[in-house]
Symmetry: C2
Subunit: 289 residues, 2 copies
């Protein structure tokens, strides 16, 4: 006998300092998050798996140039765009990811192929290996070097939130997490961020987390896997999140996260000024920008 669960979807468009973002842009992103939330939550209600839902949500975020992932990715100090993504199937406890891949339209779709069809068992690939595998899978390529990105690079422009992500609980009670990033912007070439690791993206049968913020500090706290480990010992995602926020605040670490458990409880927290997020449950739909 299997019981049907009310699906939950939480997505984020990055954490950062609100001082660098103008109000008009925030409202546009709020609208974008709401559109993505609506579309993906409907899919979950129609019976989509959590894994498919988080991949779809992150694909839509990657395709929107307002967010720092996929099409909206930032340039590293050498003028190159290197994107990273991760996808984790909580019910099977399986992780896959792409590190610093160039030119692939949707790094999250590349992660999905690595999860489903890992070449010789390898589920995380970097740079040219990741691009080669993407070509072998006939994934779409598209230059992310838009005019806007090049302008930003010339102005050394920061001011865009970093990283997008999604966590979902589906009607069969399965959890999944997906995260994608275009990097920090103007960083040392070939820097590896937290995104394609369990520090930023983790899910098991009881918990799913996606983190965003200063990558090095997310790694130091192993944010996503830490919260899921606490959940496994019986500590709820809200309490675990408050404990972590206290520790991170004390160390002046700068990051935020969305956390969801198998009972549908979710929690959003950040030690930064701002995190843009949206959540949908059977009861309500909320957007916070």
């Amino acid at each position: 006998m299997s019981k049907s669960v009310a699906p939950v979807l939480v997505i984020h468009g990055g954490a950062g300092s609100s001082r660098t973002i103008d109000r008009r842009r925030l409202i546009a992103r709020e609208q974008a998050l709401k559109g993505i939330l609506d579309a993906v939550y409907r899919a979950l209600q129609r019976g989509s798996s959590a894994l498919k839902a988080v991949a779809l949500a992150v694909e839509m975020l990657e395709d929107d140039p307002q967010f720092n992932a996929g099409r909206g990715s930032k340039l590293q100090a050498d003028g190159k765009i290197r994107m990273s993504a991760a996808l984790m199937d909580g019910s099977r406890r399986r992780f896959a990811g792409a590190v610093n891949v160039e030119g692939v339209r949707n790094p999250i779709r590349l992660s999905e192929r690595l999860l489903r069809n890992p070449p010789d068992g390898s589920r995380v690939l970097a740079g040219p290996g990741a691009a080669r595998f993407a070509r072998s899978q006939q994934l779409r390529f598209r230059s992310p070097y838009t005019d806007e990105r090049k302008r930003e690079f010339r102005r050394a422009g920061k001011g865009k939130f970093g990283t997008v992500g999604a966590v979902a609980l589906d009607s069969k009670g399965r959890l999944a997490a997906a995260t994608s990033t275009g990097g920090r912007g103007l960083e040392y070439p070939h820097r590896v961020s937290d995104t394609p690791t369990v520090a930023a993206n983790y899910a098991n049968s009881s918990c799913a987390v996606s983190a965003t913020g200063v990558g090095e500090e997310i790694v130091d706290f192993a944010v996503a896997s830490h919260l899921c480990s606490l959940r496994e010992t019986g500590i709820g995602v809200a309490r675990a999140s408050r404990m972590l926020k206290q520790q991170a605040d004390k160390s002046r670490a700068r990051f935020g996260w969305i956390a969801l458990d198998a009972d549908g409880n979710f929690y959003v927290a950040t030690t930064t000024a701002h995190i843009i997020w949206a959540a949908a449950t059977a009861a309500k739909l909320e957007v916070h920008a």
Copy 2:
């Protein structure tokens, strides 16, 4: 007032299937581990920090071609050697690492420079970026393409244990962890292993862990950060290790680890047939191969 603690050092030379290793080779590795353990434990007794001790232990393991790291690294399917390493300072909760770097003699020393002197704040670098930073730091380069490696490649030889690591507690009560790998051998080019992530290498003020085994499965279980998260909730490293081993056995996941806490308790476990390790405390020195 600061209390002096009896130092503890635990090192490993990888986990794997014992059927592929002959007895004579195991004895030689046992001798090598003992020599490294002796030298590094003496340094800890003379007041070396845990961070310096684990870096020194892993450097010595990288320089010994019997182990799969540094000089003994395996070749990926395209005939290239790509090495990865990670170093974490538990007392400052800071992680650094190198992903798939080529030609650097000691990836662990590169990780140490990234920890001490991160370029523009970047503490994990991959491939050409990692090599460029290593050159800027005047680190030593040496071709790991020895005749023995090339012979192994031609025979598609496996049978060598994967990954080396060390955890230490110093006389000031500080913990650190270091891990280094030459990869799985003959894997898809540019595969990223667990080693340069918090799944294989983690330390904070209460716990330090280094893991070895099938990289994808270590990532799925977030082995190192998971054990340290459990330790933070008050679960000892022995009990946390037994809990994880039970879960991993059930999923047929193949990995092992060394775990050490701030009270000097340590635990070594593996779900594979074998793990080569050695430990030194004030009371005794033991080697298990």
